[in-house]
Structures are given as C-alpha cells and as structure tokens.
C-alpha cells in the first residue's frame, strides 16, 4: 500500500499502530477459557490431572483429545448455522426471534418428506403422508424445508421493511406462528424414521462441515459484495442508506429471507442428526444464536459485527459446555457458571478495546 491509499494528508498518521481487530479479543477470551479448564483439570482434586484438550490418557493416539475437539464444535454447529443468519439480521439493526421455532417447524415438515418406507423391515409407523412421500430423493425434503424457510423469512422481512413493524414484534409473532405450525403438523407427535441419505446430512461431523462452509461463504459475502456493504450501511444509518439510494426495503427482505433459510437448514441438519423431528425442538436456539453473535462482538444497534466473530462466539459457548462436563460440574451450577462466563468473556473483550472512554 502506498501512503496515498490511506489518506489525503493532514495529520500525522502512524500506520504501524493498526487498529486491533475486535475478533482478536474474542479469540483471546476463548484461549483464556480453555486455559482455565486445563488448569482446573490439574488443580481440582477429583480430576486426577486430566487434560481438557490433550490426550493424556492416550485414548486416541494423538496429542489432542480428539473426541473433545470434535464435540466442542459439533455441539454448537447447528445453532451456529442459525447464528450466521442472526449476525446478518443484527447488522441491519434487526433481530430475529423466530429462528428457534422455525427450526422445529422446518424439521417437522422436511422430515415428513424424508420418510423411509420400511423400518426394521416393517412399514413405517409414523409417516404422515401416504406412500407417495416415501423414499423420496434427499433433495425433496431439503428443497421443501428451504422453501418453507424462505417463505417465513419473506414474511418477516415484509413486515419489518414494508409495514415497518419493529423486528422484535414481527419475529416474536412469527415465533408463535412457527411453534404453532410445528405443533399442528402431525398434532404434536414426533416424526421419525428418515431415509439413510437424509440421515447422512446430519451424521458424524457433517453439521460442522455445513457450519464452517456456510460461515466461509457468508464471510466472503459480507465483506466483499454489495449485499454485505448495504447490510452494514442499513444498520449503521438506515435513513442515510435510504437517502443514498439503497433500496432498503427490498434489501431487508433479502436479509430476513437468508436468515430464515439458514435457520431452516439448521432444522434439516438437526432432524437428520437426531433422526427425528419433534415440535419442541430448537427451544432457546434463537437466544443462543444471538448470544453467539454478541459474544463475537456484534452490536445490537447495528452496523457492526462479523461472521468470524460469530464463529468464535460459537466456539466460546462450545468450549464452555464441554468444559463443564469435563470438570463434572452439576447441572444447576452449570447454568450459573455459564451465565458468569458469558458475561466474563464480553467483559474481557471490553477491557481490551477501550480506546475511547
């Protein structure tokens, strides 16, 4: 870079003092939390010097405890997919509460088109459609699920953009509607027994593959495309974006559609992973998706945030969960400790970036 590419003179500008990217703080918090668990593993008397991340017992023939590394990210991958959409919505200064119930509704609907004909050699006992919907190619449930997500997202977006309903209310309404749909579909009974090809979508580390590839795609889109730039502009100053000639309404609809399609996809992966779909799935997912984004440094007033931050935010939650199981913390304490650590992670972040009081 030449000097001129940075500015047009005036004050002294010391390029060596680069702004410290927000994401580094989150990474830093993540490392600290891991270290704390490692130390606890050594210190706590009943832990017998176990290691959190390393394969000290030689169970995997590797330096790392591979099972742990996998589960850390696997358990946040599905909510993480939702968080990718939440990130985009929040950057526009919106919020999407409907994603949790949308996961459930999509899971129910998609699963109904992913039914296998025979279960242990007997006819499928749960199919909610006739035999025509049995053993369909795996693309069918995916397409149906994503279309459903797109529809819900389009409705959310239309209410927010064209009817100017506060996103909190529009998506809270949709939250209830989607929960209702999930309960009404098959009258609250779970839908199970998908085809093998459908199961594959959520099997093993597939959720992680989906999460990370989608994260990479949306990272590029937000940073390097017009879509991304307009998303940030709208969240930064909607009126200015409008005055600058951005079609704010249409853009918002697009953002909400993408977010809902991501949530719908999360529903598909989730039901494939669990091999069943039930109406109660996805409870609180919307909150945790938002939490991932916020831990990752997003601002709920819009205009700021990044996919990398959100991925790191997801990792923080994943490490916390695994860590608690590791140190054998009892469930009711887990909640308290989780709450404390989430706050602490962000406190850490704040301390590192206070340049202006």
């Amino acid at each position: 870079m030449t000097e001129t590419s940075h500015g047009v003179g005036g004050l002294t500008f010391d390029k060596s003092k680069k702004a410290w990217p927000n994401e580094l703080n989150v990474l830093f918090a993540l490392v600290i939390i891991v270290v704390i668990f490692e130390i606890l593993g050594q210190l706590l008397p009943y832990m017998n010097d176990q290691s959190f991340l390393f394969d000290t017992k030689d169970r995997f023939g590797s330096i790392f405890n591979e099972a742990r590394l996998k589960i850390i990210i696997l358990q946040v991958a599905i909510i993480g997919i939702i968080a990718l959409g939440a990130t985009q919505v929040i950057i526009t200064a919106g919020i999407d509460l409907s994603s949790g119930p949308l996961v459930a509704a999509t899971a129910m609907i998609a699963m109904s088109f992913a039914q296998t004909e025979l279960v242990n050699g007997n006819p499928n006992p749960k199919a909610i459609f006739g035999t025509w919907a049995m053993d369909l190619p795996v693309i069918a449930p995916i397409v149906v699920g994503l279309l459903f997500g797109a529809l819900i997202g389009a409705i959310n977006g239309t209410f927010v953009a064209y009817f100017r309903i506060p996103p909190f209310i529009a998506t809270l309404g949709m939250f209830l509607i989607c929960r209702g749909i999930a309960l009404w579909w098959s009258s609250g009974r779970p839908v199970s027994f998908p085809t093998e090809s459908y199961k594959f979508i959520g099997s093993g580390m597939m959720p992680v593959v989906w999460f990370l590839s989608l994260a990479a795609i949306f990272h590029v889109i937000l940073k390097y495309t017009v879509y991304g730039k307009h998303t940030y502009a709208i969240g930064s100053n909607e009126e200015a974006a409008r005055m600058s000639g951005i079609n704010v309404k249409r853009h918002k609809v697009l953002v909400y559609m993408i977010a809902s399609m991501l949530a719908a996809f999360a529903g598909i992966v989730l039901s494939a992973k669990a091999s069943t779909a039930q109406a109660g799935m996805g409870e609180f997912y919307e909150l945790f998706a938002i939490a991932m984004a916020v831990i990752g440094g997003i601002s709920l007033t819009g205009g700021r945030g990044s996919i990398i931050g959100t991925v790191l935010g997801a990792m923080v939650l994943g490490v916390i969960r695994s860590g608690f199981t590791f140190i054998k913390l009892d469930g009711s304490y887990q909640l308290m400790a989780m709450g404390g650590i989430i706050i602490a992670a962000v406190v850490l972040d704040q301390f590192r970036q206070r340049n202006r009081v």
């Binding site: 742990r68 589960i71 999930a182 609250g188 779970p190 039930q278 109660g280 799935m281 199981t325």
Partner: protein, 292 residues
C-alpha cells in the same frame, strides 16, 4: 466409577424427585461419582451431552430421554460406553446393544388410570346420564402430554365412559399458575361442568385453586391428575383432589444407578425393567404420602 446422567429437564417436579433418587443412591455407594446434566428438553443438546460424557471417558451413562423416538441416535452416540434409559422407553428398545438397558414405565397407563377412575367416580355420583368437563394439556410439544391426553380421549371413547363430554381442552404448560388462569377463563363463560382432567398434578391443583377462589364446592367436581406429588397428596388430604397416579420416581432413579453399575461390572442384567403406575385416591393415599 464415574456415571454421567442427562435428564430431560431439571425444573420438572417429578423428574426432580427421580433425580434426587439417583443422587442420593449414588452418594450412598462408595466410589461412585454421579454427574448430572440438564438437557432442557432439547434433544440435540442431549445427544451432545452423551458425546461430551464419552469424550470425558465416563464409565456409564444414564439417559432420561427427551424424545423417545430418538433412541437410535442416543444409543449410537454412546458407542461402547454402557448406557441406561430411565423413566421413558426409547423406541429402539427391542434392538438395544448388550451394553444398554432401560428402566422405565409405560406412559399409556398413567392417563388411562386417572381418567378411568374419574369416570367411575362420576358414575358412582349418579352422573352417568351425562357429564361435561374440561381437559388440561401439558406442554403441547411434550410426548407424555400428548400421550396422556390421548389416553383420556380413549377412555371417553369406551362405551362405559362415553357419557363424558369434553367441553374444551387447552394447554396450561404443566404450570399451576397458568392452570389457574385457564380455569378462570373457562369459568367466565358460565358453562356448568362436572370434571376436570389434567395431564399432571400441578395443573390440577391450579384448577382447584381457581375453582375454590370462585367459590365452588370441590365436592361437586371430580378432578383427576397424574404424578402423586407431595403437594397433590396434601391437597387430596384436604379433601379437594380426587384422583392421581403414582409412579415411583425415587425408586426408578435409584434403580437406574444400580443397573448402570451392574453393566459396568459385567453382571448380567435385565435389559428391560417395566415399572407400573399405581392409582391414588383418598382411600389409599396415606401409603404414598411420604414416597414422592
């Protein structure tokens, strides 16, 4: 031995009794370390909890499954680590590997027992010519709730009880306070009714509180629920509550720990242990007063 347990939700009354049964029993055995996780009714979380246990290298896992149709996914997540299902019967019960077992009850019994007893009581009161009432559902997404409500409809579908009609059925989400409001809403329409059936005791108690607040005489209404919680039994003792159903929470909890330890030790165990429900009425409630 390290045992990891995952419970569908920590804030459920009955499951809490079961959970305490597990904890106390485990504490009474030397060298057993029980670690409890809350699945918050989230199936995916529960599967991940099982995997987390495996990653931590526990010796056995106890699962109170969120969704009985996800047995296959849970069983697979456990791999070769011994696993015991407790309280709820997974759908893959017939194809469990040798390292897995279950100690559970058959949910179909509970709602049926309660509704059938209410039906009998109504007949005894001479209301066989026609009785109207309300049905309170638990959380609509919960399998036990769906099953218990279905049981009620099945009972009413029988010839013997077909004199009963449900005016309306709605959810009060297992909660006493919501049940109070729902009952008051129902009563504000002014329709006379003879019975209230609820998917659990908490909702039944809420309904009773609302009816008493409205000045109704509890002798005129048959109220049936499920769980036989302590609060319920004391309400029954006060003469307000008519029918509930007992399921040995404490015993199931303790039993699951024993079974898990037996599998770890390589002992031969019964892979399926069914625990029956028992009907509780004012006549026999003293037996149960201190049990749950």
């Amino acid at each position: 031995q390290d045992i990891g347990a995952t419970i569908s939700r920590f804030d459920d009354n009955w499951l809490t009794v079961m959970r305490n049964g597990m904890t106390e029993h485990a504490a009474s055995i030397d060298g057993v370390n029980l670690q409890m996780e809350d699945a918050t009714d989230d199936l995916a979380k529960q599967i991940d909890q099982v995997k987390n246990f495996v990653a931590s290298g526990v010796d056995a896992i106890i699962v109170n499954i969120v969704d009985t149709s996800a047995g296959a996914a849970i069983s697979e997540a456990a791999g070769s680590t011994p696993l015991v299902y407790v309280n709820r019967q997974p759908d893959n019960v017939d194809s469990l590997p040798a390292t897995q077992a279950f100690v559970a009850s058959n949910e179909i019994e509970s709602g049926t027992l309660s509704a059938f007893q209410v039906c009998n009581n109504l007949r005894a009161e001479g209301k066989a010519g026609g009785a109207r009432g309300y049905l309170m559902n638990g959380q609509l997404s919960n399998q036990a709730a769906v099953q218990r409500s279905k049981d009620v409809h099945d009972v009413i579908g029988m010839d013997m009880c077909s004199f009963m009609t449900i005016i309306d059925e709605q959810t009060a989400n297992w909660s006493r306070d919501e049940a109070q409001d729902l009952m008051t809403n129902w009563m504000s329409s002014g329709e006379p009714f003879d019975f209230v059936l609820a998917n659990n005791d908490e909702m039944a108690i809420g309904a009773i509180q609302a009816m008493k607040a409205a000045g109704m005489d509890m002798a005129d209404v048959q109220v049936g629920g499920v769980d036989a919680s302590q609060d319920a039994l004391l309400t029954m003792q006060a003469g307000d509550y008519d029918v509930t159903v007992f399921q040995d929470a404490f015993g199931q909890g303790a039993g699951s720990v024993d079974t898990a330890l037996a599998i770890v030790a390589g002992d031969s165990v019964d892979q399926k242990v069914y625990i029956p429900f028992k009907l509780v009425t004012p006549a026999n409630m003293d037996e149960f007063l201190s049990k749950n």
